[in-house]
């Protein structure tokens, strides 16, 4: 009995155990549900999976199913970020325990019962439990915001190397607080219209109504919600990576106020879509995104500079190639920052290009083409956030030497291959006609699926290793069970 209890204690009572469970749950959902669309459907794999798992897929409910699927995965990712930041930042023990308890029960309920409702018939008790799960995650967010309150005396920043006010208030903590607070508020922008559309059983996907000139306030709210939640998850992972890499110095002092400003203005812009600010909301969003991204750029500069300095330590006059070698020596440290840079090519760059040439180019094409671009670029952003989490996780579980390099580079190269292919697929109409596109589509689809499938294989191997480890009496899990405070691993 103790055998089981110890392992459950690790999985649900320690930082790294909680993260492992959430990653494992997300992996399973991604692997299984990834087989229901795209080329997997073309090859007939979907039909086999549906039959094998006895799923009940009603055509008219596809949009609702997808919404629940997105939320199930998103809740797990939010939970992972929460475990990370509650492990990295100081907070009262009560809040740490309460937040983790609420969010763990919440995301598991949302995922298990939500997916049960969406894909295995409509037992309304399951829907109720799904909503209850989302609600628990929301309450965890409120508690987390309270826990991150930056003005308490216990949380002052004594070290002048970090961004702080004259009175010692930790500006990085303020950035975390701002991100948490605005996340909770922005969640309401989905919850309120969701309760209306959900109860009326009239789910819709935002990308399908994007061209309608007249949208209701609640439709605008949904569109704003999905954009801002993903942006805030990205802001939060940027802050987490910054803390993990011990971001400090002058760049930290510039970056943190920029991220706070960016977070707030970005949110004001998105919230503005349901107010008379709607006509200028996009402009406010651009204004907000700029400082937030500049803050992330500061982190990249700091991190890469640090990696190079550490890597060439002891070399009197390092050459350019020695510096590059130092930069890329540890893919788990280089990777998260590189993914943030790569994001500009596959997400921000595409978004800006689309915004600039919208009426001249993109809105001349059928709406289905625009849908591909829209869904493509936010799937890539979600994927990039996931890879950053996995790279940090690789360091967290103590991967070393060749295994560390293999894991890190596999995630970076495979995901970037897939994301670059998605980007080419999204933008293909710029350089190839519909009639002549098939060879290009085949190639990018192959590269995309190869990248994603192999990435999942790598992840599956790690998960199987961790599963096998749980059967060992003195496995890695016993060490991790005692490593609750991630801040001790900040170097």
């Amino acid at each position: 009995m103790r055998l089981v209890r110890d392992r459950l204690q690790y999985l649900f009572g320690s930082t790294k155990g909680l993260i492992l469970v959430a990653i494992a749950m997300t992996t399973v959902v991604t692997a299984v549900w990834g087989m229901l669309s795209g080329p997997m459907a073309e090859f007939g794999v979907r039909d086999v999976v549906v039959r094998l798992l006895r799923m009940d897929l009603v055509q008219a409910e596809r949009e609702g199913r997808i919404i629940i699927l997105y939320h199930s995965i998103a809740m797990a990712v939010v939970a992972i970020e929460t475990y990370m930041l509650t492990g990295l930042l100081k907070m009262k023990a009560f809040y740490k325990t309460a937040v983790r308890l609420l969010i763990t029960v919440g995301y598991l309920m949302a995922m298990i019962f939500g997916m049960g409702f969406a894909y295995w018939g409509h037992n309304w008790a399951l829907h109720g439990l799904y909503i209850a799960g989302l609600t628990l995650v929301f309450f965890a967010g409120i508690l987390l915001t309270i826990a991150l309150w930056p003005w308490g005396k216990d949380f002052r920043q004594p070290d002048p190397a970090y961004a702080r006010t004259r009175t010692g208030i930790d500006i990085e903590r303020m950035a975390f607080f701002a991100a948490a607070l605005t996340t909770v508020i922005s969640a309401l922008f989905g919850a309120i219209p969701g309760s209306m559309f959900g109860n009326g059983f009239e789910a819709f996907l935002a990308e399908n109504i994007i061209r309608y000139p007249e949208k209701t306030t609640l439709e605008y709210s949904i569109i704003g919600h999905l954009h801002i939640m993903l942006a805030l998850i990205a802001v939060m992972i940027t802050l987490i990576i910054g803390r993990w890499l011990n971001f400090k110095g002058i760049l930290h002092k510039i970056a943190m106020p920029l991220i706070i400003l960016g977070t707030i203005v970005l949110n004001v812009g998105v919230w503005g879509v349901v107010t008379p600010l709607e006509p200028v909301a996009h402009m406010i969003i651009y204004v907000g995104a700029t400082p937030a991204m500049l803050g992330a750029l500061m982190l990249v500069i700091f991190g890469w500079d640090k990696l190079i300095r550490q890597g060439v330590a002891g070399i009197v006059r390092p050459t350019f190639f020695q510096k590059i070698g130092a930069l890329v020596r540890d893919p788990l440290k280089f990777g998260p920052l590189w993914q943030m840079v790569f994001m500009n090519f596959t997400v921000s760059g595409i978004g800006i290009f689309m915004a600039v040439r919208l009426d001249e180019v993109f809105r001349v094409w059928p709406a289905r083409e625009e849908r591909i671009e829209l869904t493509g670029h936010w799937h890539v952003l979600s994927g990039i956030i996931a890879t950053i989490i996995l790279l940090y996780y690789g360091d967290m579980i103590g991967l070393k030497g060749r295994l560390r390099r293999l894991y890190g580079w596999a995630i970076i190269l495979l995901s970037d291959l897939a994301f670059a292919s998605v980007t080419v697929f999204e933008m293909k109409r710029l350089f190839i006609s519909e009639a002549a596109q098939q060879p290009l589509v085949n190639t990018v689809m192959l590269l995309m699926d190869f990248g994603l499938a192999m990435l999942l294989v790598v992840l599956a191997m790690v998960m199987l290793w961790r599963l096998a480890d749980l059967f060992k009496k003195k496995g890695r899990w016993t060490e991790e069970a005692g490593q609750d405070d991630l801040s001790t691993e900040v170097r």
Binding site: S37, E202, D359, W365, Q438, P439, N442
Partner: protein
């Protein structure tokens, strides 16, 4: 050695993306037995509209074409219209007059003023018709395929010249769904690969390794067998064919504050989710493509 092999493989893979497509690859020729000149009567009455089955009523009878307008029918129209000077050649396209729409200056709205607009392009290699400088003809084998590479204006013009009009979205939807239930597909609630022409549906006209998907003859999915390829009868409750898949179909609504025209039915290039009756697509009225066609509707005297 292994690095060299990997590099060569990678280069070969990337080069495969640049392969050219033979747009004139031989196409199987089948007679479906469905008359593209036939019209079906849709009686007045209530039906369930949209994904969420909102009751809607059309209080008039109307007729709608049983199939999409074929390439054969359209080139006949083009030849006649050119002879009558109803259309003219303008560079590499055939243009015709459209009286224009009311412009309200809504965000993203483009003004459609009265004037000449493209009906069909003359220089698009994906077109299934030819023009020798004096007459149009269907590309052999495509006479009974749906007319594609035709703009909304070109569709509107054909229907008008035939004493008909493009169906509005509600008319299209009722004709596809019938009045009895909220079915997602014209034939019922589920879809099989041999029920409609959609992306990777493995029909005899597609080759996903080279040119990809192609149109199928109108009414192809009628329960007949073609050289061993067995189709299911996929007519709508009113006997219409190809209301799901093959080509998107232009509809006639001109909505206030937007220049977009709406398309229904999904196509050979979309997954089956876009073949669901309520799915809407839209494009500028000058857009034409190899997966876009139309059919006409008309009032009943």
């Amino acid at each position: 050695m292994s690095r060299l092999a990997f590099s060569l493989l990678a280069i070969a893979l990337l080069l495969s993306a640049c392969a050219t497509v033979d747009l004139n690859a031989p196409v199987p020729e089948y007679e479906t037995g469905i008359d593209p000149n036939a019209w079906a009567l849709v009686p007045a009455g209530e039906f369930l509209s949209g994904q969420h089955n909102h009751p809607a009523t059309l209080d008039y009878d109307y007729e709608i074409m049983v199939t999409d307008v074929t390439v054969g029918l359209y080139v006949t129209y083009l030849n006649q219209a050119l002879a009558d000077s109803a259309l003219r050649i303008d560079g590499e396209q055939i243009v015709g007059y459209y009286p224009g729409d009311e412009f309200r200056g809504v965000k993203h709205e483009v003004e459609i003023a009265g004037g000449d607009y493209v009906f069909v392009p003359l220089d698009d290699p994906a077109s299934r018709f030819t023009f020798d400088g004096s007459a149009f003809a269907a590309v052999p084998g495509y006479e009974n395929h749906p007319m594609t590479n035709v703009s909304w204006f070109g569709s509107w013009g054909y229907c008008a010249a035939s004493g008909a009009r493009l169906p509005i979205e509600l008319e299209w939807e009722k004709a596809a769904r019938g009045g009895d239930d909220g079915r997602p597909f014209p034939w019922g609630f589920d879809i099989a690969r041999n029920q409609a022409n959609f992306y990777a549906s493995r029909d005899p006209f597609e080759d996903m390794g080279s040119f990809g998907s192609r149109t199928s003859p109108v009414g192809f999915y009628n329960g007949r067998s073609y050289d061993g390829y067995v189709t299911l009868d996929s007519a709508s409750p009113y006997g219409l064919y190809d209301m799901a898949g093959n080509v998107w179909q232009w509809t006639g609504d001109v909505y206030e504050g937007q220049h977009y025209r709406y398309l229904r039915g999904g196509s050979k290039d979309t997954y089956e989710m876009d073949l669901r009756i309520w799915v809407r697509n839209n494009a500028t009225p000058t857009y034409y493509g190899p997966a876009v066609g139309f059919r006409c509707a008309r009032d009943v005297e």
